[in-house]
Amino acid sequence: MLTWLSTQLIASLIFGASLSLLQYTYIKAFFLSLDVLLIIWGAMFLYQVTNRAGTIQIIGKSLAELTENCAFLGIFLGWLFPSFLQGMGGFGIPVAVSAPLLVSAGFSPTMAVVIASIGHGWAVTFGSMGSSFKTLMAVTGLSANYLAPFTAILLGISSLLCGLFVIYLSGGKKYFLKALPLTLSSSLVLSTGQYLLATNGLWVIAVTLPAMASLGFGFLYVRFFSKYSREYLQKMKREKRIEIMIALLPYILLVALIIIFNFFSPIKELFAPYVISFQFPQLSTAYGFITPAETGKKINLFLHPGTIIMISALLSFFLLKKKAYLKDDEIIDIAKDTFNNSMNTSIAIFSLVGTAVVMNHTQMTNVLAVGISRVFNQEIYPLISPFIGALGAFITGSNNNSNVLFGNLQLQTTKLLNLSAALILAAQTAGGALGSIMAPAKVILGCSTVGLNGKEGKVIGKLVLYTSVLILMLGIIVYIISRIL
C-alpha cells in the first residue's frame, strides 16, 4: 500500500502525471487485478471445501503409507503431492500441508520444510489455477499462445531439477540412483502434460492434471517395483479405496468442468456475450509520454476460469455433503474462511497492480528498462533475467507479484536489447516461481506447521543456497536457448 502511495506521489511530482491520469490508471488496475483475483478467490474456495472435508489429509496419509523408502517418500510427499496442491491453490498451502506429513514419515522438521518448498517450486506459475501466468499475460498484454511454449519448457526443465534436488535431499547418495528412474519418468509426465495443456489453452489445469497423472503413475510404479507397496495395497480394504476415490472427486470434477467450458462450443457461445470491459481515453503525462486509447481488460464473468473453479467447488461441496464429509451449515464457515484467507492477498494485489500500471503509464518502467539495457548487454541479459524474477518473488512473497512488478520491465528491456520477449518473460516467471520458494512469507507459514517457530532463519538460509543453484541452472539454460535462437 505504501508502495502504491509513493508511486502516485513520484508519478505526479517527477514524471508529470496529472490527477486525471492517476484516476484512469487506478480504474485500469482494478480490472487487471479482478481478472487475477477471480481465480485466486475460486482456488481458495475450492481449497477450503476440500480442507474442511478432510480430503487433502486422506490423500496425503494414503501416500505416506504407500512406501517406506525415504527417497520415494520424498518424491510423493515432497515433490508430487505439494505440486498437486500448488496446482489448485498456492498461498503457502503446499508446504503447510506437506511438511507435517513428511515429519510424521520420519523427516526432520527443517528438512521437511526445505524438501516441500523445493518440490513445489516448479509448479508455482501454472499453479493456483494459473493465476501467475494470467498476471503475466495481463501486465504485458501478450497472449497465452505466445507466452506458453517457452514458459512450459523452462518450467518443465525446472520440474526435473526440483525432483532431483528432492530425491538427493530426502534419500542422499544411497537412494539417489534407486529413485532416479521414478524421478525421470514422473518429470516426463509433469513436463509433457504441462506443455500440452498450456499450449492448448488449458493453462488453468496445466499443473493440477499432470500432477494428478504423475501421482497415479508413481502409484503404479511402486505397485510393480516395490514389494512393500504391493503388500500394502493388497491388504488395503475396499472402504479405504472408496474413501480415496471420494477424496479425489473434487479435482476430477474441476478438470472435467474446465475441459467442458473450454471445448464445448454451445456453452462458449451461450455465455460469450456477457463480457465486462471499459473504454479508456488516450492518456499523456506533462512530459509528453502517451498511452494510446484502449479497451480495458475484458472479463467474461461466466467463462472466466475463476467462475469455473467456483462452480466446481460448489458442486464438490454438495457431493461431499451427500457423502457425509460436510454438513449443511459449513458452507458459511467455508465462505468466511475463504474471505479471511484471501483478504490480505487481495489488498496486496490491488496495490501492486496499481503500482505497476502507474509505472507503465508514466515512463518509469521505460526509464528502468533503459538503465538495465545499459548495464547488461544482449548476451548476458538472458542469464540475469531469471534472477530478476526471483528477486521480485523473494521481496513480494509471490511469483504473481513478481510478474506484476517486473513483467513489463522485462518486456521493455527485451525490446531495447532485441531479445525474444517470449523467452525472457518465461525466464522472468520461471525465476519468480523458483524465487518464491525462499520467500520469508511462505517459509514462516511452513515452519509454523512443524514447530519451527523462531528457527525460520536456518530454513531460509538452506533454501537460499539450494534455490540460488536452481536459478543459476535455469539462467544457464535460458542463456543457451538465447544463443541458439
Partner: protein
C-alpha cells in the same frame, strides 16, 4: 490488535478491500459523466483512506 480508532485490524482491512472493489467503478462512472470535480474529490478521499490505513496498520 486495536488501533488508535479502536477498530480491529481486520475491520480496517475489510474497509480497504471494499474501497478497492467499489470505488474504481464509481470513479469511472463519474469521469464518464463529466463530473470531474466529484471524481477528484472521490479519488483524493481514496488516497486519504489509504494513507490512514498505512499509518495505523503499518502495512
Amino acid at each position: 490488535m486495536k488501533t488508535a480508532f479502536l477498530m480491529p485490524k481486520k475491520t480496517i482491512r475489510k474497509t480497504i478491500l471494499l474501497v478497492d472493489l467499489l470505488s474504481p467503478k464509481l470513479l469511472y462512472l463519474l469521469l464518464n459523466s463529466g463530473k470531474r470535480l466529484l471524481s477528484m474529490v472521490l479519488f483524493i478521499t481514496i488516497i486519504l483512506i489509504k494513507v490512514i490505513y498505512v499509518v495505523i496498520s503499518q502495512d
